[in-house]
């Protein structure tokens, strides 16, 4: 069974040959190529080579089309700050005053050099990999992108106190999000990971989510021409799992703050779990601890399929060393073989 078949089997809530695992690595490709993070993301060729090398090295089950979180806000005119030791970060928000929302328009994907780089990278990975593993495209949800467009505090105030401007901003973001997701699918992405941390009950109350983030997700997932995962990027998921299922997602990225047993009960047979190793702590895990964490997650969420082991945030920190990643890989290959009873 190759990675593609393994992942499709688990998405179908059946046991494959082993538990699939996604090492959601972005910056680590730069380390493989001996480049700075800024240099690495300056060319699609680097990202293609980085993703191919990382999968050969760690034998995980996907290619990751995610470059960095502020990619989309950069297309809206925002600053990106490159660090030597971490993911590119969003700088000063591009929408300085909420009144400017009225003049905001969606970026033109065809004319945006950086977005085109991402599409080129996806197409080349598809070409070079021979479809042996799924390629994950990524979009920031229209409901969560405003954190970087406006700043977190201003966005929360907008959400609670300026419904008209909120609706206008979401309309612009929705138009861009659908086009951006479909462009990645057309370029060769297998599925889209829809990052939506603001929808988590960690960030907004469920009642608010049902009127906003849920409706937006349902609308987006209905308009995107491929399978979607919803990832709350470390935010809690359990209180809204039923809602996320109703929104049409096939996969849910869950937090290390979530109780994996509760998640498994709520998701079983309905939506595949992606998660939930603690990426921040992972940085200093010892080999025995790493192995124990992998075994624990597999034993809880692995039975019956519907589970992909991954970190809880959707991006493994730069500081997580090779030996931890290698131990995760070895542990999955050793303890994740189905049937699980004999291996755990």
């Amino acid at each position: 069974m190759n990675s593609f078949e393994r992942v499709m089997t688990t998405l179908d809530h059946r046991e494959a040959d082993r538990v699939p695992f996604f090492l959601l690595l972005t910056m680590h490709g730069a380390r493989e190529l001996g480049l700075s993070i800024r240099e690495y993301f300056s060319s699609p060729d680097n990202v293609v080579e980085g993703q191919l090398r990382l999968r050969r090295k760690y034998r995980h089950d996907c290619y990751y089309g995610f470059w960095y979180a502020p990619l989309e806000v950069e297309a809206f005119g925002g600053d990106v700050i490159f660090l030597e030791d971490g993911p590119p970060n969003s700088g000063t928000p591009p929408v300085r005053h909420i009144e400017d929302i009225g003049r905001l328009t969606p970026p033109n994907i065809a004319q945006n050099r950086k977005l085109q780089h991402v599409l080129t990278a996806i197409a080349r990975i598809r070409e070079k990999s021979g479809n042996d593993a799924p390629i994950l495209g990524v979009v920031m949800s229209p409901f969560s992108l405003p954190i970087m467009q406006l700043g977190f505090n201003i966005y929360i105030e907008l959400l609670f106190e300026h419904p008209d401007l909120f609706d206008r901003l979401i309309a612009v973001n929705q138009e861009f999000c659908v086009n951006w997701a479909n462009a990645q699918l057309e370029a060769g992405a297998t599925a889209i990971c829809y990052f939506d941390p603001v929808s988590s009950p960690t960030i907004v109350p469920r009642e608010k989510y049902l009127k906003t983030g849920f409706q937006i997700a349902k609308n987006m997932l209905g308009s995107i021409h491929g399978a979607c995962a919803i990832h709350l990027a470390s935010g809690r998921t359990v209180p809204i799992i039923d809602d996320i299922v109703r929104s049409g997602a096939k996969v849910l990225g869950v937090s290390c703050d979530d109780d994996l047993r509760s998640v498994k009960r709520a998701c079983e047979g309905r939506i595949t779990i992606l998660g939930n190793l603690n990426g921040i702590e992972m940085r200093r895990w010892k080999p025995t601890e790493t192995e124990a964490k992998v075994k624990e997650a597999i034993s809880i969420a692995g039975p019956g399929g519907g589970f992909i082991l991954a970190d809880n945030h959707g991006e493994i920190p730069w500081q997580v060393p090779d030996d931890v990643l290698m131990t995760i890989s070895e542990a999955v290959h050793r303890f994740g073989r189905y049937p699980l009873a004999g291996t755990l």
Partner: protein
């Protein structure tokens, strides 16, 4: 008097804050604020209500948006009903709050709101890089710095702040908070911080504790 049935008053204040009910909150403040001791009302009702909100966020009962909106409304109400003179404590260490490197200012803003609500005076450095932070701390003779971060690299940068403060002979206390510290319970010690706040409402208590530690150090020096 405030103390007699303060639990009920805290609960009412808490409920009105979460409902973003400014009218009920204003009525509550006007009804119960002791004319001669407004700071006592803040300490006995407002700060405990904000602490309860912070704890309920940590246990997943309420959301970050509710925490932020309630702390902002509490600050507005206090500003409108009390004079600054009433709220500033007579004795307190020199404090500053900052968001190190990251442009996400929500955490820093919430800490500032809670401190202001509790009557602390402080410098607000906004979003700041390490070099400038050190210069401004030296210039303002800061004794306690409260740092909020969102990203792991920013959290790890605090180790360098600690080393450079130590080299310069500063005894400033460092209180840290933000997502990386929530996901890794040992990280604050690793970077050399003196304390960690898991929610913004921890700030007044931690500042008091650090002020006490500084006082003890001074006492030890004199002895």
């Amino acid at each position: 008097m405030v103390a007699e049935d303060s639990n009920e008053k805290i609960r009412t204040f808490y409920d009105s804050l979460l409902a973003l009910d400014r009218i009920a909150l204003s009525r509550h403040l006007h009804q119960y604020v002791p004319a001669s001791q407004p700071t006592r009302y803040v300490e006995e009702i407002v700060v405990p209500a904000l602490e309860a909100i912070g704890k309920d966020w940590e246990t997943g009962k309420i959301s970050l948006a509710e925490v932020y909106m309630s702390s902002r409304i509490a600050e507005e109400l206090i500003d409108s009903l009390f004079t600054t003179k009433h709220l500033v404590r007579r004795e307190q260490p020199r404090l500053a709050v900052a968001a190190l490197q990251d442009y996400h200012l929500l955490g820093k803003r919430m800490v500032a709101t809670v401190l202001r609500s509790a009557g602390f005076k402080f410098e607000d450095y906004g979003q700041i890089e390490l070099g400038e932070l050190l210069s401004r701390m030296e210039r303002d003779r800061i004794e306690i710095i409260l740092i909020s971060v969102l990203m792991l690299p920013s959290a790890l940068k605090i180790r360098e702040l600690r080393e450079r403060l130590s080299r310069s002979g500063s005894r400033a206390k460092i209180i840290v908070g933000g997502a990386p510290f929530r996901f890794d319970a040992g990280l604050w010690r690793e970077v050399g911080a003196d304390a960690v706040g898991l929610f913004a409402s921890d700030a007044p208590r931690l500042v008091e504790a650090m002020a006490e530690a500084l006082a003890q150090q001074e006492k030890g020096d004199r002895a």
